[in-house]
Structures are given as structure tokens and as C-alpha cells.
Symmetry: C2
Subunit: 477 residues, 2 copies
């Protein structure tokens, strides 16, 4: 770790982010262009994200499986929009075992096609439906401009792929998984999100409808933090996924896919972090509590370490780390663990031994206001309460930030100003033309058409024509 200062988040958000990822040891640059190494601290965070999601997937009836990394090029070509969307981004294996391959293999950028092929093999009758499979794995998209976690050539994610007998069931699944993502983001990651539908221009290549959870980062830019797609019968037709229905007639299935990736780690960093480093939500933090013993004399040392060890044992239900390093000062340790975003620090010194006390220091409130002197009694209960408080207040703060930076401009000129440094919540006529004009004028795009709508009509912020939906416009990652 490093005790060197970060660049100012306010002055240079991008530098702040890049250096924070490195200094907190979440990830590092790999010696392959655009690839990353997810270091143990970052991977443990990802494991905690996986656990939170996987539990929700299984509660909603899904199971995990693994499909091949390699996909025959011809598979991708079976769905027209899909191949157009992904062709520019492919990594292609042309040599295997020392010989040129007859048909090149692509490294999966997403697995609709190969999973579609397998589903056509497995699904015969309505009794085989629904198929509710998720896959945890790695995918590759040959991106030109990369950034750790946010956009890397290889990234880690889960991709759910489901097949249903009816359109309605597939649509319900799509929205159910969108809600699972929103629930996870809000309750586990303390990241406020807007669930909504993507515009035609912004949807997934091959989908009928794409849904997203959109989050506001600390520089007010938007980040698509998870997506759920209703694929209609597009892939069922391309891969001939058919079943015999209740009347013994052959029907195409209806499919969905949904994914959340290591990009979400970027969302956590950029939603919560500050100039001192990461601030990790207690529910996902690799280390929830760090215990820092403070002493000078050998006599104090043994007493303090004894108490620290007793407290560590009492906190066995939490992810606790004892920083017993000898070669650095307590102040140095505080900086280290602030950089790493540990939600709660407990300081224990000789005076605490005398007074049966401890000092709690909250990561989300730096300085005196974040500190409290507490009794050593019922320490587990107190830690539980502190972590809950931190979790909640992180969410409240992030939601407050989003609200403060979301505006309802009255004119297109006002709109142009708003999206320079925030989100505009505006009526939109849903025509390509207006969406494109916004993008050209401001670099902002439609982020989503929120599921929750005011239930009235308005006038498009661009063209003043009638509009049915209010949408969010913002510059995005």
C-alpha cells in the first residue's frame, strides 16, 4: 500500500480514479494492452459481489453452468444485429495446436449464440421450460480506449440466459432480473440506481428491449451498472430453439439475457470514494473492521494486544483484520485503511485498557465527527449498529448527490447547460433525430426511460413535440 496522497477528486476525477485503483491495490495493469489484473483485495470485493448476486439468482430459481470460451465465427453471423454489434470488437483464434484452423474461433464477447445452440439441443417440450441458467465467467471485447474495471479487453461478469414458453413469462423474467440488480445495488452496494428501458439506439445488439440500472458517479456522469434484455424470439429463430407446446405444436421459445460485470466495482469506487481513498459499503467490504492497537511501552503492548485479540474473537461474525505491523505508526495505518475504504476502524490504546473503552472511527465521516468513544462491552452489537449506520448513510449521501445533480431544465439551452455537469430529467419524443441532436450538441445520451413514469404527457425538451415519457439524459462512462 501507499501513504502517498491521491490527486484531488474534484480537480481531476479521472486521475483520482486511476491512482486510487492502483494505490488501494484493487487492480493493476497487465502486460497485455487493455487487460487488467484483479488483485486479491479487488477479487475479494468481487467475490462478495458474486455472493450477493448468486444468492438472489438462486432464490429466483436459477442455476449455474459453464459454456465454452470459444464460439465458431459462423454462430455469431446467425443473428444479424448481434453480429453487427460485436464484429468490430472480436478477438479471433486462428491457430490451434500449431495449425491454422479451418474455421476461426472467436473468444466469446457474450454467449447468446453458443448457449442458444445448446438450448436448441436440450429443449424439446414445454416440460423442459423454463430454462433458467446463469454463467459466471470471463468475456473479451477488443476495446480501443480502456480503463481499469470500467472498460477492459477481458472482464469478469455473470450472464444469465433464460428460455420461456411465452412472451409474457420472458418479459416478466427480464424485469424480475432488473429488479434483482436494483435490489443488490441499493441494499448491498449502497449505490442508488434508476431502473429503466434503453432507447432503440442504446439497446443490446439483438435484443427487442434492453433494460438497465443507471447510477450517477461522483463526477455526475452516468454508468450503466447492469442490464437485462428481452430478446423476443430473435435468438430462438436464429438457433432454431423450438418446443412442443401443450397442443403438441412446435413453437419457438422466448429468451432473455442479463449481465452484471466487474464494471460494477468501478461504480462502487466512483459513487462513494473521496480524496482519502475508497469508501466501501459494509455489506461488500473485504475487511469490514480493522483493529489498530496503539502502544509505546512493552508493558502497554502486551495489555493492548491481549484486548485486541479478545475483541477480534468477539467479532468472529465479521470480516476483521488486525493491523499488528511494527514498522509503521498508527497514523500511517489509519491512512492505509482509509485508502482501502475499510468502513470501520477500531483504535485501542493503553487508556482504553484502563477505561474499558475503544474508539470507533467511521470511514464515511473523516475526522472528529466520525469518531466516538465507546465501551468495550457488547462490542459485537455496537459494531453491528455502526456498520448498519454506515451502510445506510452511504446510500443516503449518494442518493442526495444524485438528486442535487439532477435537474429539470425548462428550455433546450438550459438543458445543454445541465448535462454539462449533471443529469437532465426531461420529456423526450422518442425519435432518433432528437436523441442524435442531443448527442452531437452535448455528448450526452439517453440513459434510460425509467420504469416509474409521472403518468402524464409533456413536450420533448429538444423539439417541443408531444412526449409520453420523461427520460434521463447524461454523459456516460
Amino acid at each position: 500500500m501507499s501513504n502517498e496522497k491521491l490527486p484531488s477528486r474534484r480537480e481531476n476525477f479521472s486521475d483520482w480514479y486511476n491512482q486510487l485503483v492502483l494505490k488501494s491495490e484493487l487492480a493493476d495493469y497487465a502486460p497485455v494492452r487493455g487487460c487488467m489484473v484483479v488483485r486479491p483485495y479487488g477479487w475479494t470485493l468481487w467475490e462478495n459481489i458474486q455472493r450477493g448476486l448468486d444468492r438472489r439468482f438462486k432464490e429466483t430459481g436459477h442455476v449455474n453452468a459453464a459454456f465454452p470460451l470459444f464460439i465458431p465465427m459462423s454462430f455469431l453471423e446467425k443473428e444479424k444485429e448481434h453480429v453487427e454489434g460485436f464484429s468490430p470488437e472480436l478477438a479471433v483464434v486462428t491457430i490451434g495446436g500449431g495449425e491454422d484452423l479451418e474455421e476461426p474461433l472467436i473468444v466469446r464477447p457474450t454467449s447468446e449464440t453458443i448457449i442458444g445452440y445448446m438450448y436448441s439441443k436440450w429443449i424439446k417440450s414445454y416440460r423442459d421450460l423454463p430454462v433458467l441458467i446463469n454463467q459466471w465467467g470471463n468475456v473479451v471485447r477488443w476495446e480501443m480506449r480502456t480503463k481499469l474495471f470500467l472498460r477492459t479487453l477481458e472482464f469478469y461478469w455473470q450472464e444469465g440466459h433464460t428460455a420461456h414458453a411465452t412472451e409474457q413469462e420472458a418479459r416478466e423474467e427480464t424485469l424480475q432480473m432488473l429488479n434483482v440488480y436494483a435490489d443488490f445495488a441499493v441494499n448491498d452496494a449502497a449505490v442508488p440506481v434508476v431502473p429503466g428501458m434503453k432507447s432503440e439506439r442504446e439497446k443490446f445488439a439483438g435484443a427487442v428491449n434492453s433494460y438497465t440500472i443507471e447510477a450517477m458517479m461522483g463526477d455526475t456522469r452516468a454508468l450503466q451498472a447492469g442490464t437485462s434484455h428481452f430478446l423476443g424470439q430473435n435468438f430462438a429463430r436464429a438457433f432454431n430453439i423450438q418446443y412442443l407446446d401443450w397442443n403438441n405444436e412446435l413453437q419457438h421459445v422466448w429468451t432473455t439475457s442479463w449481465g452484471l460485470s466487474t464494471r460494477f466495482i468501478g461504480a462502487i469506487i466512483m459513487t462513494h470514494g473521496d480524496d482519502n481513498g475508497l469508501i466501501l459499503p459494509p455489506k461488500l467490504a473485504p475487511i469490514q473492521v480493522v483493529l489498530v492497537p496503539i502502544y509505546k511501552s512493552d508493558d502497554d503492548k502486551s495489555k493492548v494486544l491481549e484486548t485486541v485479540e479478545r475483541i477480534r474473537k468477539e467479532l468472529h461474525e465479521y470480516r476483521v483484520h488486525v493491523d499488528s505491523r511494527e514498522e509503521v505508526t498508527p497514523g500511517y495505518k489509519y491512512n492505509d485503511w482509509e485508502m482501502r475504504g475499510v468502513p470501520l476502524r477500531i483504535e485501542i490504546g493503553p487508556r482504553d485498557i484502563e477505561n474499558n473503552s475503544v474508539v470507533f472511527a467511521r470511514r464515511d465521516i473523516i475526522g472528529k465527527q466520525g469518531k466516538s468513544l465507546l465501551s468495550q462491552d457488547h462490542i459485537a452489537d455496537q459494531v453491528n449498529e455502526a456498520l448498519n449506520t454506515i451502510q445506510k448513510s452511504m446510500y443516503t449521501r449518494a442518493l442526495g448527490f444524485r438528486k442535487a445533480n439532477t435537474k429539470d431544465p425548462k428550455t433546450y439551452d438550459g438543458f445543454i447547460q445541465v448535462v454539462k455537469n449533471g443529469w437532465a430529467y426531461s420529456w423526450w419524443c422518442e425519435r432518433d433525430e432528437c436523441e442524435l441532436r442531443v448527442k452531437e450538441d452535448t455528448k450526452a445520451t439517453t440513459r434510460c426511460i425509467p420504469i416509474d413514469q409521472p403518468g402524464e404527457e409533456g413536450l420533448c425538451i429538444v423539439c417541443n413535440k408531444p412526449a409520453k415519457n420523461r427520460v434521463y439524459f447524461a454523459r456516460a462512462y
Copy 2:
């Protein structure tokens, strides 16, 4: 699932295996040569294997991380033996984002090189050591002859990579992880294994010493079920991984690597399975207990289902499945769950409702001997006991099988007969010449030089010259 019979295990072990993998829905062939799809039932088994290993890795101080899928070709070339060993098996990406790459990228066959590169960046001082990192992921080796789980182009595994200040510490780590594998195999998978060292010919490309756990499959062939390598300073020199020692002098680190893969699923199938299907060890089985309700009248049905539901709730600590299918008979269900190797089946019918009884049917003992009529009281305790008994007796049976098929031939002619259909436990002079002769004469190889040795000396079974160690010879997967 399928109620069709398997080929006879005794008559055609290979067909039996291939069809069992498909019929039990553990895996399927992918539309890419040599690749597999691990289906939900197989992946859940792998998740349980992962859990058993990951717990042991973390208890021994390891953390997980993720390194890139792609490795620059030049990296592999830095370690002479390593590149020779892996070059024939590589998948090579030559096109990225529509353009020819300046330097081709290989899809990792194993990650010593790219992890070595990162370690050289991260490790500066003795304070940074040891580094104890594991990675769960996929790797690719371009194999010519493939078989589901046992040898596929892409497979799933974990690879541990550690760096140490001293040779002794690295050697201890190598053996510690060998023991972790052996402990897992024996206690979780009920697979008896011999831990030992590989011969020079059989060791990992780039290792100083390779260790293995060797298991006997149901056809008496050997399978290398996990490996742990002491890499000396080979990769440290190739990648310049150096640290400042306690005297402020620059030293190369000592490294290890160790891996266990989805091949282990093949070991479980071939150790325990029978002509009725899989027999899965209770500790790893995706479903530990299947409840089969039996009824004819509607009146019986509601009573039986009520009891089944109550019992399901009482068994909430176990992985339980209720087979409530209406369209098939109980007998059909029995066959299904026997094919899938569920360790314990509980049958509940109208008479059981009257008598407060249930029937337990053990998967490892088919027929009447495996059935017992028990009370519904304390059902969770009884399930616990039954699962423990099954776990133990599976191990005992497998160990007995290995012992019965391991011989100590007195002459080389006798040896040739023994390795046709079993293991030979024989003295070997450790010379290449004798090892090669055995291979040419019998197709058998040295499987390992066991850690436990008789502590005397003998005469090589091939050349009659003095030999220090007894080793296992066998034909192997």
C-alpha cells in the same frame, strides 16, 4: 434425464463413462471440437468441489485473484522447458478488433509466466513475502484426443502461485498443498489417493519437482487428480522476481504452483459409479437427499405430500430435492436419481403415514440390502447418520478396490501381467531407461514415488539394480 440403461461398466468402461456423463446431465459436447458444456448438475458439483478446496486454501493463508486470459507469446519463451512443454498445445489469437496483432497472444494453458511477470512488479522486499495467491479460472490446451472432464480443450481449475524467501519455505508450501489436495480427495470426495513425487520424465514443464495425488479408477487405470510443483528459482530467474533480503541484498524468490481441475469430476465418476449411474459422495453431491412421494388416490396424495413437505422442512440443513413429478412412476424416479447418484433416497407412501415410518434407500447399496424402514422421528439425525455412513463406506470400498488391484510382482514378466489390469507397487532404480522400457512394453508409466516409503532398499523390477524407492506403475488417463 433418461431411463435408458447404461452400457455395462465391466464390459465397456469407456462407453459406460461417456454415456453416464451425458445421461446424468453432468456435461455435454460443445459445438467446438474438444470443448464441453458443464451443465447445471455438473457445475453444482464443481461449485461444491470449489467450496471444499477454497475453504482449505483460505485456512492456509491464501487469497484469490485474477490474471489475464491472454499471454504474450514472448512470455512463454522465457522459460526453456516450459515453452517446450506447452508449445504444441497452444491456441493463438492473431486478430483483435479486426486487425492482425503485432505480437500474437496465447490463450493461457497455465499462468506461471504472466503471474511471474506481475510478481516481479509487486515483490520488492522480504516484507512482501510470502505471496500466496490462487486463481479460479479457465485454461486452454489444444489436445488431440479429448474426453469429457478428463481431457478437454478448455477446462476449469484453480491454480495456486506462491513466492517465498527461502527454498525450504517453498518446499514446505508445495507439500502442504499436496496434503490439502489429499485431504480433500479422501475426506470430501471419498477418493483414496497416493500422494507422491513425479519422475523426471513425468514432471511439469518448468518444475524442479512435481508432486501428485494418484487415484485408481474403476477400470484400474490411474488418474492424476491434483498436482503441486516446486518450481525452484526457474520462473524467478526467467521473470526477474527479486527481493531485498534482511541484509539488504537482492535475491531471487522461490516459487510453487499447484492445481486441481474439473478432471477431478471424472475421478469421482470413475471411482464410485456403477451400472446404474453415478454414486456421488454426500459431502459434494448437488442433491444429498431426494424425497419421493408415493400415492395412488387423491386422498393419499394430500396426506403424503403434507408429510413430505414437513420432512423437507426438517431437513433444511441438507441439499434436498422433492420429486413431485406427476407424469412418471416412482420406479422411474428411482432410476433417474440412481443415474444422478443422489446418495440417499427417502420414499414416503400411504402406509408410512399410518405407521409414522419412512424408507431410506442408499445409493451405494442397490436393492433390498440398501433399504431400511425407519421412524419419521428425528429424521434430520437419521439423515445425518446415513450420509456419514455412505460417505465412509464409499471410501472404504474404493480403498479396498485399489488394494485388491495393486500387486507386488516378483519378476518383470509378472510385472507385465500386473500392469495389464492393475497397479504394480515395485522397486525402481529411477533411471530413464527402465521407465521407458516399461512404457514400451506395457504402456504403463511411473505414477508416483510415494511420500511414504518402506525405509529399506530393493532391486529394480526392470533391471534388478539397487533401488531406493518403491513406486507405482500403471496405465493412466
